[in-house]
Amino acid sequence: MPLPRFATFGGTFCAVLFFGVSGDFTPSAASAEPSISQRVDDLLAARWKEQGVEAAAPADDSELLRRLYLDLTGVIPTVAESREYLQDSRPEKSRALIDRLLVSPAHSTHLADVWRDLMLPRKFDPNQTAGLIGLQNWLRRQFVDNRRYDRVVADLLVATGGDESGPALFYTAVGLKPEELGATTARIFLGVRLDCAQCHNHPFEKWTQQDFWGYAAFFARLQQRSRAAAGMRLVDADSGEVFLPDSKSAVPTRYPGGAPVESPERGTRREQLAIWMVSADNPYLAPATVNFVWAQLFGRGLVEPLDDFGDHNPASHPRLLDELAQSFVASGYDLRRLYRSLTNTRAYQLASRRAGGPERPADLFAEMAVKTLSSEQLYDSLSRVALQSSAAMSQRLADPQRQAFLIKMQTQSQTATDFELGVPQALTLLNGTELNRAADAAQSGLLAALEAPFMTDGQRVEIAFLATLAREPRDSERSRFVEYVESASPDKHKEALGDVVWALVNNAEFALNH
């Protein structure tokens, strides 16, 4: 795939130059953004026409509001935020909201959650809390500064810091094994399954054993310095090799699809890989990244599975993927711009399927997919209902209650449209403490607020809907719920409101991003 060359690293380039540099040095791409959103919509519309498919109607304000909050900040909006948006009559209000959310602290936290999830084999291990916080903080700093994504990847590939100050958990979580690090980085940064060739060559696959082990060899010299008071450090030793299974011959380093290379003048093996990663010789990073972000927002990738790029598995919209990737490179690997472009498309802002509507193939993106809230989104959204505060939860990764919830709910599927929970988790949601914090008269901030005098029960029910579903109740819902609250005896009034909140947060509409 031809990509514009924006930088080439010669033999004299010193890796230190860009490691640790922060901030944008983005080529002027400010004018590119509206056009790429438009381009996405044009390409999709052409396909819909070709296939004779009519796209879904635009999502209504509430649907889009809740979707944007969940996709960009990982949590539902508060009552105040919902009200403000729903009452805003400016035609450009969704664009303004997107701009505001993209620079909010919650956005960087959410992206750190998403990438941390992607990078770690075991998501919530309470024995690794310090490492988790280190990785999270490191990622979050990159996203706050909106650093060039290629530089972020390069820095990760040469990272040495651990515990609460660095991303080393990414390495230690797989025991520093070169084959695991090779497999993981190829999957998440290159979008390819090199490791399918770990044990032997496959007759119809592009990747050979030499490709896999040659790539894994870049991690062969990584060592963990024994734990000192200063925290955990990774070091790059002067020796260390990988070997083919059942073989004694060391495999030289090579980039996927290339010939063996040794370029010690470029630094350690990990530094060599980092330099290749950000160079124009690497055609994989940009498409893999835009595909990953696309899947986060649209519920499935343009290439699906996300880590299986190759001739055997073409993209559903090859030209769209190409142009997005080129635009991403031209923007200087600007993730924030990518999120902004995609969320401003007509396609992203379509409604999801409604009863009676036509069946539209998921890979046409002619309607929004219904995504399941991740366990982190679910916990944080439940907390938001209970607390009605958008304050950042600084200690959330170390919060034992949150950890226990995430361990119980942790899901496996890479596909956001799957609903994976089972009966034990449903019992916890029905009867456990989390839901009850929101619905319990003694603990719920929302219920406390609803007890304010001079409010009608109609207004209270409306607030409960806004707090959970970011929408106003429909007439039938309003009458049913208001009647329920009004029929309670005065001493049971707050309890009845709690029942309303309970029913709302336990609902499929709450658990799904639609």
């Binding site: 084999p121 409604r354 599927s413 994976e420 329920y484 499929a508």
Partner: protein, 447 residues
């Protein structure tokens, strides 16, 4: 296959209608649904009970005594019903049942840390690496579980997962295969004394504090109206799966099957025979769950007072093991007798193990430390050739002399006893096919 597609594939339309029919109108929290005939149909199915000895039980003071060596310690061996097979003097009731029990005396593993050892023994794979291996209970429940059953497929009683939650996790199988837990929330507390029974309840089956059955019914009616409205408006598998899973949970809350957890239905003589502590009452609960068709039940013995790492006897090994043996002997032997009385022992395989064994040398505090080199586990009941010891350790207990066994072979043998091919593959989220257990079943242990 991913879980929800699998769910969709395994739920026939008929099942779906039946589950939907058990919706909220007409049923209520305050009354029980009629018993389902499915209970009787369970009898022919296989079951597994894992007796998990948290902390690492001393093989030298239970099933592999060394009376002629200084490492042997204080306990005397006693003869059992199986000629030539000796147990500790503090396991007299189990000794009577030794014909049903096969002691594996040659376990040899490589993990001497609680969290890592638990992972190895409970998954059959070493910890580390990118694959989230499922715990054996989830694997077995997936193979043997009946989708129409009201009760969970995997119930874990008093689990103590703090050392390594991954060792208790359904891993890449996904949360649908997670254990329904009993008493997981209060591992340290809930001590019992001689006058009361341990209080064992399925976690989160009870209504939250302050909510009575009438209020729960009202809540569920509100919930059902909203849920039905959303599902009707949004055709799609996620909303449908949400509704189905919640309805199953509600069905369990209201079902007569849930009365399995009500141990007060048992006569006090029976309850007392098991022992009044968490382990004894857990064994009783395991029997009641197996009777009702639950394929995998796990009971943890982690202490006398509450539940922790009771077998981690770095100090005062003999006092602690004597008292733990009393709990173990009463609970386990009564469980086997009662299962046999009901014709269920032949279809129920029991595995007794912990994360590793203890050092043969006795340390200065009268304790024994972690020792994975040479230790014991026990298989009993269904499809197990009892009355034997498999493998052998040296006279000082320091090394395996005969037929070393690793965790994967032990779990493969358990699978074979349960009628499951251990080479059965599941696929993780990265598309890797992974066997239930890599090892080969030990034929000598199988009936």
């Amino acid at each position: 296959m991913n879980p929800i597609r699998e769910l969709a594939a395994t739920i026939s339309r008929r099942q779906w209608l039946r589950a939907s029919g058990l919706g909220l109108v007409g049923a209520s929290m305050s009354g029980w649904l009629p018993a389902l005939a499915a209970q009787q149909a369970q009898a022919a199915r296989r079951h597994c009970i894992l007796l998990w000895m948290n902390g690492g039980p001393s093989q030298l003071d239970t099933f592999d005594l060394k009376p002629d060596h200084a490492n042997g310690g204080q306990f005397k061996p006693i003869a059992t019903a199986a000629p030539g097979l000796m147990f500790s003097e503090h396991l007299p009731k189990l000794a009577e049942l030794a014909e049903q029990m096969a002691v594996v005396r040659s376990l040899s593993t490589k993990e001497g840390d609680h969290g890592r050892g638990a992972f190895l023994m409970r998954t059959g794979y070493r910890p580390g690496g990118p694959v989230e291996y499922p715990t054996i209970g989830s694997l077995v429940a997936k193979e043997l579980g009946d989708d129409e059953a009201e009760l969970p497929h995997y119930v874990s009683i008093s689990p103590y997962a703090l050392f390594n939650p991954a060792a208790y996790s359904p891993g890449f199988l996904g949360p649908r295969y997670a254990a329904a837990t009993v008493g997981a929330a209060s591992p340290a507390g809930a001590a019992t004394d001689a006058t009361t029974y341990a209080n064992l309840k399925l976690d989160d089956l009870q209504l939250p504090g302050g909510v009575d059955a009438a209020q729960a019914d009202r809540r569920l009616q509100l919930w059902d109206a909203l849920e039905q409205g959303f599902v009707a408006d949004r055709p799609g598998s996620s909303a449908l799966a949400h509704q189905l899973v919640y309805r199953r949970a509600v069905r369990l809350m209201r079902s007569q099957a849930a009365s399995a957890f009500n141990l007060e239905q048992e006569p006090t003589t029976v309850r007392d025979a098991y022992g009044r502590g968490r382990f004894g009452q857990g064994c009783l609960l395991a029997r009641r769950l197996v009777e009702r068709g639950v394929p995998f039940v796990e009971v943890t013995l982690g202490g006398i007072e509450g539940n922790s790492v009771g077998w981690d006897t770095h100090q005062n090994n003999f006092t602690a093991v004597k008292s733990l043996s009393g709990e173990l002997d009463a609970g386990w032997s009564t469980l086997m007798r009662e299962l046999a009385d009901r014709g269920l022992l032949a279809s129920t395989t029991i595995l007794w193990m912990g994360e590793f064994g203890r050092t043969p040398q006795i340390n200065a505090q009268g304790g024994r430390d972690h020792f994975p080199n040479a230790w014991s586990a026990v298989l009993a009941g269904g499809a197990i050739r009892g009355g034997q010891a498999y493998g052998r350790t040296s006279a000082d207990g320091m090394a395996v002399e005969d037929n070393p066994v690793g965790s994967s072979a032990l779990l493969a043998t358990l699978c074979a006893a349960l009628g499951i091919d251990p080479a059965t593959q599941n696929t993780n989220s990265m598309g890797r096919p992974i066997k239930i257990a890599e090892g080969q079943p030990l034929r000598e242990l199988l009936a």
